[in-house]
Symmetry: C2
Subunit: 461 residues, 2 copies
Amino acid sequence: MNGAVDLPLGQAELSFTAAGDARVRRSVLPSGVRVLSEQVPGSRSATIGFWVAVGSRDEQRADAAHPATYGSTHFLEHLLFKGTETRSALDIAISFDAVGGEHNALTAKEYTCYYAKVQDRDLPMAVEVLADMFTSSLLDPTEFESERGVILEELSMAGDDPGDVANERFFEAVLGAHPLGRPIGGNPETIRSATRDAVWEHYRANYRPQDLVVTVAGAVDHDLLLAELDRALAAAGWDPTVAGRPVDRRSVVPAALEAGPEVSVVARPTEQVNLLLGVPGLVATDERRPTMSMLNAIFGSGMSSRLFQQVRERRGLAYSVYSFAPGYSDAGLFGMYAGCAPAKAGTVASLMRDELERLAEHGVTAEEMRRASGQLAGASALALEDSDTRMSRLGRAELTLGEFVDLDEALRRISLVTADDVQRLAGDLVARPFSLVAVGAIDETAFTGAAAAVAPSSDVA
Amino acid sequence: MNGAVDLPLGQAELSFTAAGDARVRRSVLPSGVRVLSEQVPGSRSATIGFWVAVGSRDEQRADAAHPATYGSTHFLEHLLFKGTETRSALDIAISFDAVGGEHNALTAKEYTCYYAKVQDRDLPMAVEVLADMFTSSLLDPTEFESERGVILEELSMAGDDPGDVANERFFEAVLGAHPLGRPIGGNPETIRSATRDAVWEHYRANYRPQDLVVTVAGAVDHDLLLAELDRALAAAGWDPTVAGRPVDRRSVVPAALEAGPEVSVVARPTEQVNLLLGVPGLVATDERRPTMSMLNAIFGSGMSSRLFQQVRERRGLAYSVYSFAPGYSDAGLFGMYAGCAPAKAGTVASLMRDELERLAEHGVTAEEMRRASGQLAGASALALEDSDTRMSRLGRAELTLGEFVDLDEALRRISLVTADDVQRLAGDLVARPFSLVAVGAIDETAFTGAAAAVAPSSDVA
């Protein structure tokens, strides 16, 4: 590997807190491509991801000259499987199918990731094919039209899933007009009006060497990986002097959110109501993230959590009930979900809100703190057995967090969280403006009796 | 471990073809409990399952004296989490949550499985808690009523998922009046009328020592496991002399199926039509199972498969399209799925049927055979990295197949399959009576133009 800068841990742009863990390495190729790998001893397979820090939030609103590009990131993701200068769509599919590999891609709000999981001997093939897709896709006009139909079917599938509909509406309700509030895939109108030229422009503007982050976990040799990537990317003839800095997600200021409607109902002739209740949460880099992990574990994650016990175990009101706390670069959410009978939706909304208020008022027990830290430690250890999780952790470190944190360090930070911290964060959350979304055979009046569930208890946002 | 019979490989009731693989062991405790373990070198966690060969197919129709017990197996599965003589529901939940373990259960058509995935040090806890749930659950009447509500919500959730609805209807259509054709969870009427006494009777009749199969994969020591199980089960005071043989799924005769309706439509105001088309397939122990694996890989599994290429890649008619071939003790199915626009449903149904006919008529290429065997080998190797898959493989070997087949032997059998075998099986399938199920904004007339898709091409069943 000629000219690659192998940055020692702790001296790279990315900070590492896994001191002495030589199994995680980061390099920057002369072209600007960033490469992170984590070698897992004993592993016989590897997961590889090609990331770019562009997601649905980066798409443009309509203006006088242009239609909205909503959904173009996801459209592009599909098109990268449809053929390059040297490979047809079928060639790409055969490459992975012939070795029983998994390959797919994911468009998110702040990034796009093309990934594959293969046996160790097939990693060079995965590097070569993914590099070709990333650099040399044709976006053939005929394939473009055919894929438009596929994407419209994908949107229809999501539109038929009441949980998906509720989730998209919940982001809109809590985040208001913020770009993170928009659905990832666009909508049927923007997909029908999308042009090949606009998606091509998006591809050329955002898939440059300095935008690419490659992460690999499992059976990987970092130096061999650099050599394979170098060879595969050189073939694409990328110009490493192309101007422009990559998107920087790490150092943004939390957004001032304009709250959406308090109650948003989507009428559907379904048996259940899909109910979501929540508030703006923490950004991904908020230093209270370990506190949020503890709060979420105690409040709404697992069968022993307060939400599960109150809503399902004691009252039998729901099958699925939990809380969640996703974080992005400049905004986040804290949400509670339950699927319940329409006649019980008002009761369930009040119960969920009351439980959060109770946590804010009375705090958590030492026993709950002990249990939650055990839960986070054990669940993380099990999750990290999977090279998928480790591959994603590297991407998230590079693109969003700006630091790599290994399991020991993550658990050390968890261990510093106090019961007071958890109670204080709960108090902060209940003071934010609540949004309620319900999808089902129901209307807004179902929640008038549960007014406390949606009236913000203070004006502090 | 006193008195446990450690059956050498190949001499047990279960036949082993993993000759020399000493990491898989099987023992039968004096009480009749069967124990299988697979030790995976380097693993730091384990997945454990408590199985019983009773599923929804074993439930009773209504008669003059009794209402139907449909759904009682699944109801019982829920109740085993609700408390024992010495543990409350919360105690059980805390046991696993406090160590970050995963624990859940699965009711299937021919078995029920309670399982947990934990770090190695927590395996003794998992053995103890699962043994307590299995032997000493109270089925408390108050908990019974509360859980009835939870199960009704679970059924509502499935009823709101058009894919679930289509799948249940498809089993009914293809298998007709066969007990495997019934939905696993019963229906709201049978759940509303279920009594605690009937479920208790089901529990006492089917959860005897000779019914229990325990399988563990990952970081497990077989002898320690036997000792832990012996201790945990002895505490339950099980009587090993209790009469009766366990359900035997291995040596049944394939059922004569009475085909359901040719076309079955469930009208729903959804955007997509969920379309399923298929025929009776192979039983789990059919010697053509390796041939079916090759056929399914070539025909409808993966992005390079014929179905994916014809329906999605060339025509953009669907996002999700694939084939599947589940096998049970005395019946099986071969099915094709697509989610598509209502206006295209007739076209898609014809395309799918035509592709299968084409395979039956013209066979497969040597290149497709080579690719499919690579796909099965690679995908199996990746799947077996997960102790969940290995734990399930042991259970399936004991309960359904009557033999344990390791990866090498499975691939050896795959390697013996010829292109002629695949073509012959396809010819056999297309000669069977086709059923078509559609869930969506559509009626039967949508398929009159696609009559070829549903008219059986011969009378051979």
